[in-house]
Symmetry: C2
Subunit: 351 residues, 2 copies
DNA sequence: GATGCTTAGTTAACCGTTTAACCAAGGAGA
DNA sequence: TCTCCTTGGTTAAACGGTTAACTAAGCATC
């Protein structure tokens, strides 16, 4: 691995000149430029970003810390952020915490140690936020993505969750549904609370009372969707529609439907947050609140880089992006729903 | 952001002593240790990994370059590699190329520039491998993951693709199927060729001729699965089973089934590479060749770190891991398959 | 008391860049 | 011819760590 000194020697110039032609910081005569470029090519020289970072005190490296890469919501975010960062000549690296606060702590510490210029963070739920606060006060810019962290001030890109939920539930109400169940995310997360709130608002608008028995708290993971839907189907209690607060849980809900021989929308209506485009075709027929995930990633990255470069100063800014409701086949008019339980499960689940 | 000098001042010791207590490189008396630790705590000091890297010429940073994070095969790999790297105190960062060779080139250049100690690479298909070769000769260790790169020698962790395909097709043959179609990956990729080869071997073992009309080349992306399955269903040509060479294409195949009103396994048997556990329940009933993705990630990371640390020297080693065939509901005995076309599609596709 | 061996700590060189400060030479203006 | 700019280049001091080489002090041995 050759260094700038070797390049300088080979081109018979000083290392300052090499640096200048590489970075274009000063006029250099054409023939010296050519000699330097030739030397670089011949040696396959790659500037040492680490030495540079040490001197200029910035690395042009951005970290992205996500709670769960298996959640199909995140790939879009990653793409958006990566593209935007690359366009502005930053290097974006991704790491995931598996929703474990301990891992998050380690990752933030590592990124800080490597002097990343900034971090895009979708934090794992947890009450201890000292590591985040420390990261910020140490001088690393942080932008919250999708999940704000209560008690910590920072730029953020968030979804208008209440609005998404409200529109979705309105749609169900327009279809004549009155007993609409909701499977929420973990209510420690603000976005989960907002979605619940949108649900309640929509009901109130239509003078439908909020029945606490129809509000089921999940945790955004597959298993909870499965469990709660199963419970819901057993009691039934007049429920003709379910609103599920994220895509992963919806998959679990479908599992429960299949085990119980329930077909959608024949036997029940289903609407969900998140679009599962990669998924089984029946999902592409899902009525869904779709989040502009690519845009969210892109805007968060922009915010972060603007903050780093000082184009953005002063109080934290919070960008709210709005989701769109896509109405597809999984919701039907209330009077078309067959409310009696199917007599026999179509197929048993296997482990 | 405080430095080692400030810590040294505050603890009234030399910077060498600070370094020594942090790294445990030399005996330091208990009271000095305590003073240093106190200073570190009070200043919230975080050692500058970049300065350290410059001096010791290694960063303990590993890069993982993947072609497509939306492919559900990769999260498992990432987890395995991340865990293993963390255990040995390396920092693993991930980036994805979207199957574009240009992005791969940029990412490798960036990782080299940041002096990553090593790279786990699942390369995008493409004939130009000079950037990979250059990365290696420049001194960065590279381990190929899942996809070897022809013409470049390096350690690798690969799946025994032929074996997986062979066992799967044997299973179909045992169920009495004779006209078995295959939807392959892009045959420029070695793993796609190996899967095809396994398919052919299994057929030959049973004296079933390989009918070229039943070999359809896809590209591992959803759309190709959809298109080829549709084509297959239109011609039908006595096909009673389909073997799909990756999970993403299988989703496309399911879309085609649904559009045509074909049910599985009632109307046709389906077996696939990859397990789509996150997916819709019908997928969890899929007969599948499942790859030990966590293990692959873990072993690749181990190989890489061993190579970096010099515990592993000499010729490249290639680890072959073996997949397991999981037989579930999507395959049925040939005589139970209803071969006539359903008269009317159950549901139309929407955009 | 001189000598040598440990032990605990410090000094200073170095890693590969960037960049402020400096310098030499050529040309313009007086 | 002398001074003063420009222009195009070089020198050398950082940046924040690590670590080999060194020193000082304490102790045992003779």
């Amino acid at each position: 691995m050759s260094t700038i000194v070797e390049v300088a020697k080979r081109a018979s110039v000083s290392i300052a000149t090499v640096s200048n032609v590489i970075r274009g910081t000063k006029r250099v005569s054409p023939d010296l430029q050519e000699r330097v470029h030739a030397a670089i090519r011949e040696l396959d020289y790659s500037p040492n970003a680490i030495a540079r970072g040490l001197k200029v005190k910035q690395t042009r490296m951005l970290g992205m810390v996500l709670p769960d890469i298996t959640n199909p919501f995140f790939p879009g975010i990653i793409r958006g952020a990566e593209d935007t960062a690359f366009d502005r000549d930053y290097f974006l690296v991704t790491a995931n915490t598996d929703e474990q606060i301990g891992r998050e702590r380690r990752l933030l510490a590592a990124l800080r140690s490597y002097r990343a210029d900034g971090i895009l963070l979708a934090s794992a739920p947890g009450s201890d936020v000292s590591h985040i606060r420390r990261t910020i006060t140490s001088g690393v810019s942080v932008v919250f993505l999708d999940r704000p962290v209560s008690g910590v001030e920072a730029d953020a890109v968030l979804l208008d969750n209440a609005r998404g939920a409200r529109e979705c539930v309105r749609h169900l109400l327009q279809f004549g549904h009155r007993r609409i169940a909701i499977i929420t995310g973990p209510l420690t997360l603000q976005n989960a609370r907002e979605r619940l709130q949108g649900y309640e608002e929509a009901l109130r608008e239509s003078d439908v009372p909020v029945d606490p028995a129809l509000v089921l708290e999940g945790d955004y993971r597959l298993e909870s969707g499965h469990r709660l839907a199963k419970q819901l189907l057993e009691e039934r209690a007049g429920v003709s529609a379910i609103f599920v607060c994220n895509g992963v849980m919806t998959v679990g809900v479908f599992n429960a439907f299949e085990e119980a021989g329930v077909e959608c929308p024949r036997d029940i209506s289903l609407a969900t947050f998140d679009d599962l485009t990669l998924d089984h075709s029946s999902h592409s027929h899902l009525t869904a609140v779709v989040q502009p995930s690519y845009e969210m990633g892109a805007r968060a990255a922009t915010l972060l880089m603007d903050r780093i470069e000082g184009r953005l100063t002063g109080d934290p800014v919070v960008v709210r992006v709005v989701p769109t409701l896509v109405i597809r086949d999984s919701t039907a008019r209330r009077d078309l729903i067959r409310m009696e339980q199917p007599s026999v499960p179509r197929r048993r689940a296997r482990s």
